[in-house]
């Protein structure tokens, strides 16, 4: 699955996107896997209140199913307009 990062999440992790092999069933499980990788991931995912997630380009919550997801994106609250 493709994982995308935007804004300060991208900066903290140090890349805009990557491909990961995962058995995670939900966004929360995926985050737990990513957190365990390296310190920069742990730092980026330290406070879930400061993060938003989109699965296949639809805004959703951390309990969303990712078993058939092609693309999961993590980013801070949006500031459009």
């Amino acid at each position: 699955m493709d994982i995308l990062y935007f804004a300060w999440v991208r900066e903290r992790i140090g890349l805009p996107r990557e491909q990961v092999e995962t058995q995670a069933a939900t966004v929360r499980e995926l985050i737990a896997e990513l957190r365990g990788r390296e310190e920069r991931y742990a730092a980026a995912f330290a406070d879930l209140d400061a993060l938003r997630v989109a699965v296949d380009q639809e805004l959703t919550d951390f309990d969303a199913d990712v078993t058939h997801a092609r693309e999961v994106a993590f980013f801070p609250p949006m500031t459009g307009g």
Binding site: F6, A7, G80
Partner: protein, 148 residues
């Protein structure tokens, strides 16, 4: 409906004129324009990042929702990304309706949703410092009034 996500600047007068011209039978056109503000002083430029693909989808869904909720003839949304200096235009929304109330309400609805539900992020560059603009609670709260 006309939804554009682009790096290039746009001509507000020309866009508004074109939009108004193609509205047969519409008595009201409302436009809103967002402009880069130098809030703290010393802003060099702003950088707007977005999520290609999702941005277009999210804006289209918002415009469709507005068309369904109000008696609208048309909606235009232009939102820029990339680098912009103070006083440059970031985005515009235009709505056309037979009645002004619907045109105003739909424009406000679109702006409230654009602020917190369209995947854009702003970074302000001031001298050597660059900071991501934080989302405001008021913007999130503004969505409540549109709940059915």
């Amino acid at each position: 409906m006309d939804i554009r996500v682009q790096e290039a600047a746009f001509d507000l007068g020309a866009e508004t004129g074109r939009f108004a011209l193609r509205q047969a039978g519409m008595g009201a056109v409302v436009t809103f324009t967002g402009i880069v503000r130098d809030v703290a002083g010393g802003l060099d430029h702003m950088e707007v990042e977005h999520y290609p693909g999702m941005t277009e989808k999210a804006l289209t869904a918002m415009a469709e929702e507005a068309m369904g909720r109000w008696d609208l003839g048309d909606v235009l949304i232009i939102h820029r990304f990339g680098r912009m200096g103070p006083d440059e235009r970031i985005m515009m929304v235009a709505t056309a309706s037979r009645h002004r109330k619907d045109a105003f309400a739909a424009a406000e609805f679109l702006m409230d949703y654009l602020k917190s539900r369209a995947p854009f992020w702003k970074k302000e560059h001031t001298g050597e410092v660059a900071d991501w603009v934080a989302a405001r609670d008021e913007d999130e709260d503004a969505l409540d009034r549109w709940q059915p």
